[in-house]
Symmetry: C2
Subunit: 233 residues, 2 copies
């Protein structure tokens, strides 16, 4: 595979799910790791499609780079499905929202509800939800797990997933990453802990069925992913 130009699909940045027209729940991610990875493949003659957000940092415009901008999980899924079907490798470094807002209300409506689950089908009618009550309650629904859809769209694509945990042991991090490897039929999972990421320092493990390698910076991690992916058989 090494000397052939491949079509690489990369996601970066973090999605935002709207609460109303001015507020949203955001997964914080600068997009800089995805930028490093994209640049590494571009420099080596591969074709890169980057799916990212308006806010994320991006590589400079260049001939073999195509960029798509998405905002929330719905737009991400819609954009990714046709792209996953036409690419060789998918590197999914985006921080995707795991919940999306359904309904926001005050404590009174909750106290007075016969069944809490009745509120899940309510909808806010205002464009900007009123801010009078001292407390508010926001109901959220789980979003589809994008990584679990990838192989149903294209069983042949090579999938590199990411698992970000916060302040966990190496054992726990590895256990969660190995479960994701198996469940999502990924070739690799990048496992990292937010406590070990500051600026360009980025301690991460690259796990596959065959073993583990390690990186200390975003540049190193991008290089490691590139090397593994292009030598993979």
């Amino acid at each position: 595979m090494y000397n052939k130009s491949m079509k690489i699909l990369i996601t970066s940045g973090g999605t935002t799910e709207k609460i109303d027209s001015v507020r949203g729940i955001t997964n914080h991610a600068t997009g800089s790791l995805g930028k490093y990875i994209a640049e590494m493949f571009l420099q080596n003659g591969h074709e890169v499609t980057l799916v990212t957000t308006k806010e994320a940092v991006k590589p400079q415009k260049q001939p073999y780079l195509t960029t798509y901008i998405v905002s929330n999980v719905d737009s991400l899924v819609e954009t990714l499905e046709p792209l996953v079907k036409t690419h060789d490798i998918f590197i999914h470094s985006m921080a995707v929202s795991d919940y999306t807002p359904l309904y926001m209300t005050d404590l009174d409506e909750i106290e007075n509800a016969e069944h809490i689950s009745d509120l899940l089908t309510q909808q806010n009618t205002e464009s900007k939800i009123s801010s009078k009550a001292d407390y508010q309650v926001l109901f959220l629904k789980k979003t589809p797990k994008v990584i679990s859809l990838v192989k149903t769209w294209n069983p042949d694509i090579m999938l590199i997933g990411f698992k970000l945990l916060v302040n966990v042991s190496k054992d726990e991090l590895f256990a969660v990453a190995r479960a994701s490897l198996k469940k999502n039929k990924a070739h690799y999972i990048v496992a990292n802990d937010l406590n070990e990421i500051t600026g360009t320092q980025h301690h991460a493990y690259l796990l596959s069925e065959n073993g583990v390698t390690e990186a200390e910076t975003k540049a190193e991690l991008a290089k490691l992913i590139f090397e593994r992916v292009t030598n993979h058989d």
Copy 2:
């Protein structure tokens, strides 16, 4: 007042209240209007202090510009209090979060709670809240209204507030803006509707006790604020 260099305090961008170490509720605002306003005063020889966010667009570094970065309402209040006391004019264009997360849980805990208000004192112990449940419920508490504190910190400062509504009539917009003018002892309120803001187009009204003026773009609005503020007696 016109020919004297004044100390202008400006806020811009939008605050984010953390849900956990990776998620937050964000008020979307690019910071571009605040940037226009800051540049207008700087070009005319005034000293500008800009309180903004990491994500917001900012004027270029220059001698008479000092910039402070804040993230959430707590850090905004802490940063503003001493600055309000030492400035002549405060232009508060930042989109400030009106609610901050208290506790996130699943539907079961709510169904089983004797009093919903008991949950307001609960705290999440995980750094990254688990995403297993199909639904989650986020309890939020009202944040302090920063604009209402300004005159308690410095009764002599000239205050220019902002009121952003979404899809309302001109009458309703004016009524809400006039109430804010009075309640917060502001000299001016900029009243605008999100439906009339796209890119550099920015329809806005500048209301005072003496009347209303109007702008169609961010540059026009910045100029209008500058002219009113520097001619004010």
